[in-house]
């Protein structure tokens, strides 16, 4: 049986798993994010990926029809889901509903690493227009989050 039945972890890197750029889409704004595909298998209808956001970094603000099922595997941080800003701790769960703006941010002190389960067949993310951003920034809490201010 192939060695792939068991892949060892070593400080949030895995044997036989490449550390990839977060995005291929050059238009997407993000900072300090890597991607590792832990499980992608024709027998499975979903994929499990690990994203790591460096201290001070953030994922792309985006939305799409497919949903995200997230578990924080490493560290602490914050997320925006819709108009909700939440403080996240290790092992917390985040569910991103369809067509809901979302972003993950690490603190300045440590990386934020999270698992994300998605359907293998899924739509491409949409980026916010200037109007979408203005609508989000009309909420003071959301605006502070998007500026990277720690907030409560």
């Amino acid at each position: 049986m192939s060695a792939e039945i068991h892949r060892r972890a070593n400080n949030f890197r895995w044997n036989g798993v490449d550390v990839l750029p977060y995005k291929e889409d050059q238009r997407a704004l993000f900072k300090g994010v890597t991607r590792q595909v832990l499980f992608r298998d024709p027998e499975q209808e979903s994929e499990l990926r690990y994203f790591e956001v460096a201290p001070g970094g953030f994922s792309t603000l985006e939305r799409h029809h497919h949903t995200h099922s997230v578990l924080i595997l490493r560290g602490r941080g914050r997320c925006l889901v819709g108009r909700e800003v939440r403080q996240l701790d290790t092992n917390d769960l985040v569910a991103v509903p369809p067509m809901t703006w979302h972003q993950f941010r690490a603190t300045e002190r440590e990386p934020l690493g999270f698992l994300c389960m998605v359907n293998s067949t899924r739509d491409r993310p949409q980026l916010p227009s200037a109007e979408d951003l203005a609508a989000l920034e009309a909420d003071a809490t959301v605006a502070a989050f998007l500026r990277g201010e720690a907030g409560r």
Copy 2:
């Protein structure tokens, strides 16, 4: 937006997530295992569950057509996949191929907790017949694992 976008973790229990019996099947042999369904959503084609095996406990020895994608979330232990016995550490990955006998065992010292991604639509597990067990036990390493001996 509902509070379900964010569920806090507290020592491997989650807000709003029930701690369930591992199995409904009364015939299945196991010891000291609980189940928590972290994500089960009609929008998602897979589920993410958390299983916790108490010190000295073990999951059912079984096989099925569907595959398991496993990440060790807590502690250390061992697994059998096919004829392979592997030592597992936190964050290690285990892929269980179709129709492959598998079992997870905690050590005597600490719980073993793992995430398991599966297709939402899947076949029921099969339990080993006496002949299946005899075939497995013909391998000395597998036999020692099934007896709960620590092995190397």
